[in-house]
Symmetry: none
């Protein structure tokens, strides 16, 4: 695989454009112009627009996973682990709102669907951790006796709505609110 600065530039520009304008209003020619390369150059690094999007998404997922895994309180209680993760995700997206907007665009696209399929079949690292927490929590009777994907929905579903409102300016997510909301998510899943 080719690796240069240009590749990173292209991905960065594409991420920002897609986050703000969506996939279909982010033509390759615009991505190229903003990245300071010729249109044809993108095709040296990515086979197609689809391939660029896929690479972008994988990249983003990796970054988010890294953030979450960093300082992960391995030795703490399930509750602590959950609160940490929930907070970490929220704060990550507050730091990188474009990443959130991008992932939202992605999640409902055809790519997003098949991506999600893979996820729930339990391949990626992030999911390993989550399933681990949630499965363990259910087993130990700490969490409600629900399918993992339902627990997942209760735990992280609200974050998506919250982030959207925050980014659109409908809601101010300060430290206190984050704490309350995170705790509320815990209330939803704990037995």
């Amino acid at each position: 695989m080719i690796k240069t600065d240009k590749r990173a530039d292209i991905m960065d520009v594409a991420l920002n454009l897609i986050a703000e304008r969506g996939f279909h209003d982010s033509p390759m020619s615009l991505i190229a112009r903003e990245a300071g390369v010729a249109a044809g150059t993108i095709y040296r690094y990515f086979e197609s627009k689809d391939a660029l999007i896929l690479a972008l998404t994988r990249n983003l997922e990796d970054r988010i996973n890294e953030t979450v895994q960093d300082e992960y309180p391995a030795g703490e209680s399930i509750r602590e682990k959950f609160l940490y993760m929930n907070r970490a995700i929220l704060k990550y997206f507050m730091s990188y709102p474009r990443h959130f907007l991008y992932m939202e665009q992605f999640s409902i696209s055809p790519y997003g669907i098949s991506n999600r399929k893979e996820k729930l079949l339990g391949k990626s690292d992030r999911n390993k951790i989550m399933i681990d927490i949630f499965e363990r929590g259910v087993e130990q009777g700490i969490l409600k006796a629900l399918p993992i994907s339902a627990i997942f929905a209760l735990a992280f579903g609200p974050l998506q709505t919250l982030m959207r409102d925050h980014i659109l300016g409908f809601l101010r997510l300060d430290e206190a609110t984050i704490e309350q909301v995170t705790q509320a998510c815990w209330d939803a899943i704990k037995k």
Copy 2:
């Protein structure tokens, strides 16, 4: 006189196509073909693609509102009202999964953003009810002391993830699970 069933056919086809492929991968020519009419015919019923989408969305929102308002337990406690509404939304979308997928496409589109703004400013009927429940609940100390939009996120955010998983076949939403999940959402918002 305009025959309403051709108009309905077009809307129905458009809804299904957009739900499955998104706005940009549902060209007017395809909608026309699937609806069994010529491309130009759509424009007798809808001024533009935007107008079609708007009509479609309004229509769907009305149907969902009707469903929710139907048998609404006006005299019951806030908890009962909430559980009823949560269940009603879930069941509606389980009956009409395409409507869910459509609304998801819509929610992140530019139309969806401004629509959401209106919602939070409290114009539509459905929202009046919701804000009414939530505001009252917070005032009475039954719900957590959080901004309405945060309560909203905790209450309905999980449904979106749940529905997606259900539709994709990752999760079977039977009566018992619905009940548990709905209760869990209540746990998230109740004081």
Copy 3:
């Protein structure tokens, strides 16, 4: 040929629309709507849009010819005849500016070209008179020894520019100015 009020209504509406918006911005559907008939109805009276335009033009030419022939000073000098005709044309178009605008649209269209060809081959009444005046004038040595079509251009060419400026509001054509301009046209062609 079918003859009713509707036919006249359609022609009237078409004339006004075309004068103001041009041929291509005057769709049959609009003509129909403004004339208070259904789109298909126009085709009872005119085989096609082209046929409508042709009929409209012939009709207009007839009206102009009638106006000019009316009160034509048959017994007067060539100069008087010419001044009369020049004034009559100018005044007709000042009364019916839409007719002028229509004819201008028409004159440069493909229809207009072939129409003009017929004209100069000397079939229509108006032309008979004009050619008569001009040919006689040249023969008698009253007018310059130029080809008839050149005399024609000198005599009536200015009127077109004048009318355009008048209608667009660039020039006020009052009685005195009309008199001066008409006289100037005579200066151009007289020996």
Copy 4:
């Protein structure tokens, strides 16, 4: 780098097509085909059809102005200046009959109207010269005491009719006729 000759090819083809068929019967696809390029290629050189038309018109006006200004007899009498200009315009269009037909199409289009407004407000170079001759002529009592736009109509109105007849083959504009006609235009405006 943009190759100027493709741009020139497109303009040339567009000019010829529009001159012969009018704006609305000269689709971009046809212009492209005749210019030997793909439809999309035109849009590398012109932002839109309107932009192409604008460029074409400006280009033509510049060429005509250059022709007229070239060898302009600055030191001569008003009469000489006028005769020179009149002849120059006539000869230019005889050399480039398509340019005449194009300008005629243009003059009655919406673009043409606003263009004419600008002209009469005296912005363009050509008009500066003309207004200069005509205003000076009227002031000095050499020309008839008429509004400038009326003088303009008398001076150049005949040329339009003349050119049309010449191009359509109804009139042979040889040197002698040009001289006579030009002199006749002077007779129309001189006191």
